[in-house]
Amino acid sequence: MKNQPQAYITGVGLTQFGEHFDTSLETLIIEAALKAVKDSHLKSLKEIDLIIVASMTATYLQSQGHLSSLVTQLLGTSCPVLSVDAACASSGSAIGIALQYIKTHHNILIIGAEKLTDHDVTDVTSALMRAASYSEEGIHGVTFPGLGALIAQRYFHEYNKSPQLLEKIAIKNHLSGSNNPIAHMRKPINSKTYQQSPYVADPLRLFDCAPVSDGAAALIVTNPQSSIPATTPTSSILAHAQGQDSISLHHRETLTSFKAVKLALQSIKQQVNFDANQINILELHDAFTILEPILLEDLNFYKPGTGFDYYENDNPQFYINTSGGYKACGHPVAASGLRQISEIHHQLTQQAQDRQINISTSQTSLGLTVNLGGMAGTASLTLLSNS
């Protein structure tokens, strides 16, 4: 397989994900950005020639718009700054834009940040619901977990399966998250904890839903023609694609499969020649547990209705959400897509510490992220490699 990288990832920066009651959105942005630059081969922010920033709820919860100028002030930079919104896939969209701009730029800094705590949970629920259709869904009182529940209910109906199956996904991802120092939720859970958790929107329980978290993530994307010191851990972006679907669930032909994911996968396959067997690790959008098996089906790893089979296999061919996923890391909306890419980068460059999986240093290893915006109205897929 000979695929030219579209760009290198040369630095990542993550804040702790969780409840930052003593930290502002601004501080989270600065912390992630500086950590990413320090992690890279760059000596200063002056070497960045473009910044892309994403935050879904800043205009609503912090009453803060015009993030491009805000970031310029916070980082003291003078390069252009672009601001992107695609709900939870904001930072995934930012990757797509960065890959176009990198052809004529040296180093691009991408930042995703969200500050969700400090607000009444119903206000946060309302803010997040802005990623769905207000006039057709929000006005009827549907919530995001509600949309996930509508999908889950239909899935279990069509394939005659039990919602009990969701439990294993929650337990798996919380166990993985217990090894991730930046995760919001660092305690493993057992079946009893899961079963005793209340329904948020049945059949989804509290432990089927990603927690509301603050956090920021940043990446340095570097032109593939650049010379990068051998001492800088580097992974390659082989391909990125974005697929779209209607914002309202009820306008879709099916609830049990995501057209946006399938469209993005088709585009990835047109960009690169790769063997699915080379994928060692997936970071899947598990804001709700039901999404993981559906994504496994949409990525063609499992046939429709059989995605839950993955969780019955004690020795699977690839790992899913070694980070703990959205489930355990928490979901600071626009930071999550970059956090997923950071996990794959850390795994492929042997920096994942207690979570490190076996990655060959002599052979090509691949990792794929699926970052959804809204309830898969946008799907952003990024394929990374260790070489």
Binding site: T122, G141, L204
Partner: protein, 138 residues
């Protein structure tokens, strides 16, 4: 142009309507006098289709953690409803609340539209009206 929720109330409050492009016969829901298939934007070249007031539950859930405006109604049922359209129309689904039921919901159950308050912004604000759905009495 009206928002979709206003068009649910137009011309008769309980009517759920779609439009049909007279140029290419495209059925548009929610109602619009703009056709993305043939780019027709002449408002006189669209007809109105009255959709059925009954449908079947396609999927459903019960919301236990509501957004701000729905706190006082919690818990409440929401569903995706597939309208009982005849075979000459495409499949049309919409989202709404199921009300006045104390029995467990099931997929495939028949529901009928009713006109209700959806929510109010605040004690001095607008009251938003729209369509909710009742299950049939056995």
């Amino acid at each position: 142009m009206h928002s979709p929720i206003q068009t649910y109330r137009n011309p008769n409050q309980l009517h759920i309507i779609a439009s049909e492009c007279q140029e290419c016969k495209n059925v548009i829901f929610p109602y619009q006098k703009h056709c993305t298939q043939c780019l027709n934007i002449d408002p006189d070249k669209f007809s109105t289709i009255n959709l059925p007031q009954t449908g079947k539950i396609y999927s459903y859930t019960t919301i236990h953690k509501p957004p701000t405006q729905f706190k006082k109604y919690t818990p409440y049922h929401v569903a995706i409803i597939q309208l009982d359209t005849k075979s000459d129309l495409p499949t049309i689904r919409l989202t709404g609340q199921i009300v006045d039921t104390h029995k467990p919901l099931t997929i495939g159950q028949t529901v009928t539209s009713v006109y209700r308050i959806l929510h109010s912004d605040d004690p001095a604000g607008h009251i938003h009206y729209g369509i909710k759905w009742q299950t049939h009495t056995e």
